[in-house]
Structure formats: C-alpha cells, structure tokens
Amino acid sequence: MSTNTPYTTIIGLEVHVQLMTRTKLFCGCSTKFGGAPNTQVCPTCLGLPGSLPVMNRQAFDLALRAALALECTIAPFTKWDRKNYFYPDLPKGYQISQFDLPFSSDGFLEVVDPKGAFEPRRVGIVRVHLEEDAGKSMHDDAAGTGDTRIDLNRAGTPLCEIVTQPDLRSPQEARAWLNELKLLLVYLGVSDCNMQEGSLRVDANVNLHIPVPATAGAEARIAKTPIVEIKNMNSFRSVERALTYEAARQWEEWQATKAEMGKTPKQTRGWDDPAGITRAQRHKEESSDYRYFPEPDLVPVTVTAERIQSIRGGMGEPPVSLRKTLASQWQISAYDADVLVNQGRELVDYFEDLATRVGEGKVASNWMQQDVLRILNETNGTVSAFPVRPAGLADLIGRVKKGDFDTSRAREIFAEMVTSGRPVDDVVAGMGISAVSDDDVIALCRELLAANPKIVADVKSGKEQAAAGLIGQAKKKNANVNPGKVRAICLDLIREMG
C-alpha cells in the first residue's frame, strides 16, 4: 500500500463486460456460451458480403442501465463508429464500436472497505460505451502445424466497455473496486460477469508517482514512471497480484533507469499467472491507427428523457444504497449489511423475508451470517436451492425465542433441517427432542444441587461461573433442557438456600 512505500501506485482500469442479452448486438444469433464452434453465426456476424447490422435495442437498454447506475451522463445523441483493423477473428475487418460520441460518460463508483483496510475511494468513470465482441482465436500450438482455429460464436456479442479514471491507489483497492463493480452489474442484471466464460475482462494501466526531493538547482517534484498496460488477467485475484508485481517491478526499474513517462510509448505487458510475473508483449495493436469513422450502415441513436426515466424505474436498488437501507431498516451493523449485500440480491431477499417473519433484524442477521452462509460456503450451494426457506428458519428461531430449546440445540435441529429438508416439528420429533416443563427443570436442578455441594459453596462465595458445571450435568441427564434456564433456576435456588 502506498502508505508503506516510497511511491504512490496509480491505477486505472478498463473493463469489458458482456451484456446479458439473448441475442447478439447486431443480429439475431444466440449469445449462449459453450456452443460447438461456429454454430451461432449468420451472414451478419460472419461479415459476409452484403450483410448489414441492425441494433439490438435490449442491449442498448442494458448498457443504459449500467451507465445510469455508474452515475454517468447519458448523451441525448450517440452514434456508432467503425474501428478498422485486420485480424482473423474480426470477420468484417472492423469492429462496430463508439469513438468520439459514447452513449455515456463522466460517472463514478465508490468502494468502501467495511474493515477500513483503505480509505473509501470514489473512482471516476471516464466513459461507458457499447461495442461488439470479436470471435475467438485458438492457436493450435500443440499440433505443431501452427494452425489457428477461429470460433465466431462470440463475434457480435454485446460488450460494455467501462473506462475508469486513474483513481485507484493500490492493488487491493483495484480488486475491491472490481468486486464492487461486478456486484453492481450482477444486481442490475446487466451481466453475469463470469470471468471464466469471458463475460468480464479487465485490463489495467499502472504507473508510480515517486516524490523526488529537492536538490541543488532542482525543486522537489513528483516523478512519474512510464504507464504500463497489463493484459491477460483472468481473475480479480490475478489483477491484484499482477498490479502488486508490476508496481514492484516499476520501482526496481525506476531505481535502475530513472525512466519517466512520456519518453517511451505505452508498454503492454501480459500477466503470466503461473510464473507470477508480467512480460513485455509484442502487441498486434502496437502503434496501430484504427481509422475510426462513423458507421454508415447504422443510424444514430437518440435517447429521450422518458427512456432514461423508464430504465431508471426498472433498475432496482444498487448495492451501495441497499447496504444503508438494510442497516437502518433492520438495525444491523454496517459490516453485517455489507456481508449480506455482497452475497447478492437473492440472499438479501432471503434475509429480508426472514427478518420480517422473525420481526427482528439482528437475530435474523446472526442466523444468516453464522449458519446459512456458513453452510452455503461449505456446500458451495446457492440461496435459491437452499432447502430451508425463510418460513422454516423463522419457525425455528421463534421456538428458540419461546425458550423451547437453546441456540446450540437449535443449530443441531437446523443442520438436520438442511440435510433432510423437513420442517422443524418433524425434525424435533425425529431427534426425540421435546420441550421440558418448568416443574421438571426445577426438580432436576434440586437433584443437581444436592449432588454438588462444592459448586453450591463456590457460588455462595461469589463464584457464579461455577454454576457452569451444573449445566453440563443437566444436559447429560436430559438433553432437551435449556441450559440458560437451568443456570437461572440453579442460581435462584442457591440464593433461596441463603
């Protein structure tokens, strides 16, 4: 982190997310992942002669939703441009993108670490624009023949490109911010952000700002190392690792060469995950001129205030405000609200249902964090498939509040509910658990006090914690007794004994 280093790390990100549309941006082909190569193609996405693009309105609406959630300004008039370059996975020889008039610009997304690992950071968004994806080239190295195979199923898939200001100050911040962005986009239903399937891709620009003390004849100043663009990072963890590596590498390079920004062209380096290093890339786009010009096959898009209003109306609450809503509405800590919200919309819905039924946020939140989430993590499960629904769990919590059984006993019952999928009563009956009457508890306590004069004496002399020994014995005699109740009654009886 910058506070521990003799330099400040300056990071900007460029994120591509695939929009969750059924069909491609400019044709009716399916965007489904994993189809046999070149089966989801048509003349348009194959770039056949004479084919023409037609804009997918749903893609534009999803992109608008993302831009609005990122607090961007929406351009009332936007157009498409062609980005020209030759590559075998780009069948038209140009990509339809947006150049000088992106549909949105100038937004931000804030990231806050609930544990305060870094200061809350508001990261500026330079622009969000819409473009079509290219196909996939698979270089058949193993065959030794040098064949490159092209799969154009992905060609024409709608992508949102999100470009940040260089506002991030550490690799940890970058990772946290990406998590927040992903959470937002998933909440909005804009993208599934699945990095393994390529629906979220990140490139990072990084350099160092190094304070150079004043010397004779030179004032103190900030030296800036050359900006490096890092590619090939396939998880947020790799982003953090790559940035950490790259910052250290630039620091070493600075010490050796004193090379500053502006004297060399921007370098592109690829992240080698197994080796844990970045390597300089000879890049296809190196010093290329994309010859952007307005796409004559498409008409400009105008976005009305009504359309923006209607998109906003259907957006749902974004994570940043949902955290505050949960914390204030259910009286839970900011940290707890953060944990719940970060698990996704479905878990929040589960929690709110549960809290409403239980009538108390704190208890519901504790059960969510300590039990539901723990089991979901252990089983790699999803909330939607979780066998105990909020009604069942609320039932169990109600019984605990009534004093039917203690929390640890309830946990056992809960575990059995999860495994068997049966309701509380069934499980309780099956486990031979029944509520113990107060008279029975008192009788049991008297028996225990009689059998443990040493504990009684200790308690009388002021060591109340000695009563714990009684609880263990009570549980052995009757597994269904409530330990809290046993303790309270025993203490009462000892006091009565004078």
Partner: protein
Amino acid sequence: MQPLEMSAVDLVAALRQGDITAVECATVFLDRIEATNGSINAFLAVDREGALARAADIDARRKAGKPVGPLAGLPVALKDVLCTADMPTTCASKMLAGFRPPYDADVVARLRRADAVFVGKTNMDEFAMGGSNENSAFGPVRNPWDLSRAPGGSSGGSAACVAADMAPVAIGSDTGGSIRQPAGLCGITGLKPTYGRVSRRGLIAFASSLDQIGPMARSAADCALIMETIAGHDPGDSTSLAVDVPRYTDLIDKPLTGVRIGRVPEHFAAGLDPEVAKGVEEAFAVLMAAGATVHDVQLPHAKYGIPTYYLIAPCEASSNLARYDGAHYGHRAEPGKGHRAEAGGQRSAGQAGGFESPLVEMYCRSRAEGFGPEVKRRIMLGTYALSAGYYDAYYAKALRVRRLIRQDYLDAFQTVDLIGGPVSATPAFKLGEKTDDPLAMYLVDLYTVGTNLAGVGGISFPCGFTKSGLPIGFQLQAPPLAEPLLLQAADRFQRLTDWHRRRPQAMEGGKA
C-alpha cells in the same frame, strides 16, 4: 409476337393473358443472350436451367389457377453485386470468383416473390468502382451501339443487356451515377431512387452511405413497374425508410402542366460535348411543350461534388472491403515457397519474405492477387484519408461539404420540382480511351455524384442521338421520395418521343 421488342409492362400483360408462356418468354431471351453475349459480354453468369425451371413452375401454377406474383414470368437480369443464393455472386472480382452467398439480397427476394425469372448476373466494374465497365476482372462490356465503345459503368452489363434486348429489365446499383450514366450511354432508362427507398441488404457494399439499388429498363413505365416490387422498408437495413410504397404505375400518367424544372447553367459550361448539349436543350423543349416550365437554379457547391465523392466513397470502401482478407471466404493466396505458418500466425519481422508474419503475408498476397488496380487505388485513397492526422482535412471536411451539397438541393427544390440536365458530358467513349487517366475517368461522374451525395433520386433516359448514332442521355433529379414525379416526367417525355424505342444495329447478326 416479338417479346424481344416488348416493354416489361406489355410482357407482363401478355404473360398474364396467356399470349405467351413464361417458358416461351424465358427461352426467347435466353436464346438472345446465347447469341449476343459473346460480342457484348454483358453477363458473367447465365442460369438457363434455373430460369426455365422457374418459368415452368410459374406456368404450371398459372395453369392450375394458383396465385402468381405481379411480375410472373418476366425475365430480369441482376447486377452481380446483388447476393443470390442460387447463382454465384462475384462483383466482377477475382476476389469473389465462384463465391455463392448463402442468402438472397432483399431486392432479389422481393423479385422472386413477385415471380420474376432471373436469367443471369450482369457484368460490372469490379465492386462497382468505375464508369466504363473496363474494371471488370472478367473483361469489359461492349456498348451495343458501337462495340468499340464502353457502355459506361459501373452497371454496364445491366445497361448493355437491356439495350441489346437480352433482358427487358435489369437491376443495377448507383453509388455515384452507376445506373444513370450507363443507362444514358446505352440509350435506356435507369432510375436511382432516393437513398433508403430500396433495401441495401444483400447488396455488396461499395460506399454504404451512397449505394442505392434501382431498375434499368427500356422505359420509365417499366421502371415504375419494377419499383413497385423492389421498393419498401426492410427492417434488416437500418437505413431503409419506413415509408409506404406508392403505386408508381398508377401515378405516372399525368400531364406535366405546371411542373417546374430547374436548369443549372454550370451544366452547360466548357467540357460538355456540343451534340450532348443540343440533345439536352431539345429535351427541355419537349418537357416545356408537355406543360412544364424551365427555370435556372443554382447548386453552388456542385463544383465540389467530385472531390467530395472521391473522398467519402473510397473512405467507406476501404473499410467495406477490409473483409476480403482471404481468411474466411473468397480468394486466398497459396502459401509461398518456403512458407511455413507458425503458431499464432506471429513471427518476427524480416521473415517470410519481408512480411511481419505468415498471417500478414496471407492478407497482403490474397488482396494483391484478388483485387484489380482501381479497387486497390480506392482502398489506398480511403485508407490514407481516414488515417490519423488526415481525417479532419479530408474525410471530416468532405462530410461537411456533403451537407452543403445536400442543402443546395433542398434549397433548389424550394423553387423547382425537378432539376434537369445532361447525364454525361460526352456520349459513349472508346474502350481504353480513359483507362490510363484515372482522373478523366472520375470526371465521367461529374453530373451524377451530386444526387448520391444529397441522397435524392435521379432518372436517366435517352433524349437523342449523335450524328454517329450514339445515344444521348437526359437526367432529372427530384427531392427525397419524389420518384413518382421523376417517373411521371420521364414517361411523359417518352410518350412524346421515340428515342427510347430505337434499337442498336451494331450487333445485329450476333457478331461484332
């Protein structure tokens, strides 16, 4: 019955009335093509079998009392820039030799649904770039009026095949005059509709913002008939206009009383052939006799038409033609000697005979071999003009001038209903006459590019002949979507003259 001499309107009526069967009709034209095409080279592909099968099917349906389309049995020739699922589509380029698209262009599909019978694909300048049809990779088309002369271009095959009675109707495309100029030089009628009136889907793009498909036939009435089938909104072409298609054939038979026709004095400046000037002036006189009035109008920015056009069109073309890279379809160069592709298509510069990678070598050699010189010239012009540092000076400025040119037209149409004038400065020129002088060749579009830059419609039809027997063309231009008026004026002219009925004698006997 002489089908070769009949108008499309009359042929369709004769077919409907059973005076001739579709098979008989197709056979007459196919035989004519067989006898004549050797000397004209108007067709790149003739689909005798397909046409006869199609005609037989139409005859059978008609005989059985089943419904048939409005053009049932009418032979139609298609410029080879239009995608056809059942015939090769080459754009007269080696790059696409033998290429078969998996789909029909929208106009082709519409004509098919109307039960037109496609006789074949017509020759053209490669990728529609040219004004003489000499840029075809498969040899030039010869002008039926004088086989030593060019038919004009780029729709030279479509114009020549109609002029030589090989088809009553052909479909062309017009980016800077490619329908009107060859129509003028071949003595036929050609309509370039308003941009967006006819879908471009399946038209292999040259310059997307300028390209427009239109009919080429012997008369305005025939063009009107075809327009009723090919015009209309296509949701598959974002630039096509969602405007209802009028019944052109019902609208054209009206007097020209009170129609104001503009005349641009600059059109008659130096460079206009005196015989052409005389023919054009006489055409104005005919239109006035028909009730129209003639008024001088100004198109102040018209003089920038050619440079503007020759920036915008090549810029778009350089991008539109990027897809012909040998990777997915079309011509791919054979690997060179000592060529060994390496993984990823990457290797260091200096290898592979100076190419930076085998991939780049494949691109370069495929495009070098597949494209002809004029196509390469325009790709280079466009690539240069779009490059960083030049974009503002060339492309961006051309777009601004284009807007001024369009505004000139809209202003002029405040005071006149049509603008008349020559189509070309000269009658048909000799084959080879301009091939060494690209600039002279570009100037053949002088009177036609404005229509495309403005996005309006224009029609060209014969208005006389030179002493040596070459057709002279007259052009009318109209405001957006005023095709009915264009067709009405041309039709009225053709009711008062017989220039459009004249037939070339040059290739009588079938050989030049």
